[in-house]
Symmetry: C2
Subunit: 251 residues, 2 copies
Amino acid sequence: MEYTINKLAKMAGVSTRTLRFYDEIGLLTPARISSNGYRIYGPKETDRLQQILFYRELGVPLEEIKKILSSDDFDELAALESHLSAMLARRNQLDLLIANVEKTIRAAKGEMIMSDMEKFEGFKKKLVDENEQKYGREIREKYGDEAVDRSNAKFMGMSREQYAEFEKLTAEFHETLKAAYEQGDPAGELAQKACELHKKWLCFSWGEYSREAHIGVTQMYVEDPRFTAYFDRIAPGCAPFLRDAVQIYCR
Amino acid sequence: MEYTINKLAKMAGVSTRTLRFYDEIGLLTPARISSNGYRIYGPKETDRLQQILFYRELGVPLEEIKKILSSDDFDELAALESHLSAMLARRNQLDLLIANVEKTIRAAKGEMIMSDMEKFEGFKKKLVDENEQKYGREIREKYGDEAVDRSNAKFMGMSREQYAEFEKLTAEFHETLKAAYEQGDPAGELAQKACELHKKWLCFSWGEYSREAHIGVTQMYVEDPRFTAYFDRIAPGCAPFLRDAVQIYCR
DNA sequence: TGTTGACATTAACGTTACGTCATAGTTTAT
DNA sequence: ATAAACTATGACGTAACGTTAATGTCAACA
């Protein structure tokens, strides 16, 4: 089935200006130009527009979309599965924000106290994770870690070097925590070093560091299954260990 | 608690450039400027930034956000509840897109056939509903229907007049369908008029009209609970009636 | 105290993804 | 035949920042 520009635009929920722009930048070229000079779009273009809109929905810049769709090894099914994964993640992040609004409503009603940091729960993590999902593994493999890391760094307001430092610190913290946990002494030198690294790690995002908050966040790691699962991937069961170590560190 | 610009930016997941820009446009003014010329943000500004980010998350333009937050009758609790409502709707719309991706995956695997129109399910409706949720009732009441309708029309690629016509047609179709259903004759003059109006209504979004598609979409109204619920609000049980009438109309 | 790196300022240019308007040719419906 | 709808290209403008340059201030360390 073929469409003129207005028909396709209406069906897809975009403007004709958008479609002309996409033609102009080579993102979506019509199947042919009819004798009167009109753009005619076919089934191939219709499907391509759908893919474009999925990527656009996920916030992928148009130039990136163009690269992805135009590469020789573009795999439609893999892309669709990647969109599904990204959209499910988007929904999870939206859940975080919904929880934040709900919590803020309760705070506004005086039912609870909310820290300044909690007030922004979901915005920052959303940014980093959103970016990761937008690009996904497919993009990392295609364009390399550098492009993705640069983008992540941008979102976190860091330079590329700072971000690399952050990642290095993360890795060091994980290694040290694992080693300390295997050693088994929360008061030991290794565990206290892990606490120091954890403090540095936290300070990459926190506006203010406090001992109470440090203790509190490690308690949260134990109580919230999402965080426990995160730490279980470092070493199963190490979240309570970290909490114990931090309690000693902060005393 | 007070923050300098970098501290607040980091905590909130925005750039310092963003905060300076917001200061420049009067959206978020620091609590004070310290003796060295630095911006200092306090609790009031922290809360305001949270509200800004919620609105931004919902796609509200910054100038609109500024108007909303600065009006004398801004009600924080009501705004938060509006955000919650909007975000729940966003999640619902995301569900539509997720369903679309899943369906497209099945189509790509050859498990089903998908119409061109179905391929864009969720994009167009999302746009209109997203806009409605962004502004919500609060905004309609504050700035009037005109601003919202203008915005809706923009999203649907229609002029304001076309959009008004569309809404009028929608209302007429609903009234006629209700009346025809109460009359009870799918072949009757009133029912066939409803079918004609329904055809016009569909043609506002469809690139191509066909009798088969018309019959098919009314069948979908009967089979898909979301659509049945939509039509039940017009008159309970009228979706099968419309299907029967359209089958006669298209014969 | 001096030095260096981090933090902060303002100014200004650039980017992305279109929206809007003007002008003019083509198609469709009456 | 005529008017309305559809289509084209060209061009200016916009929102929301990102990036870079130049420079002052603060904090930590030797």
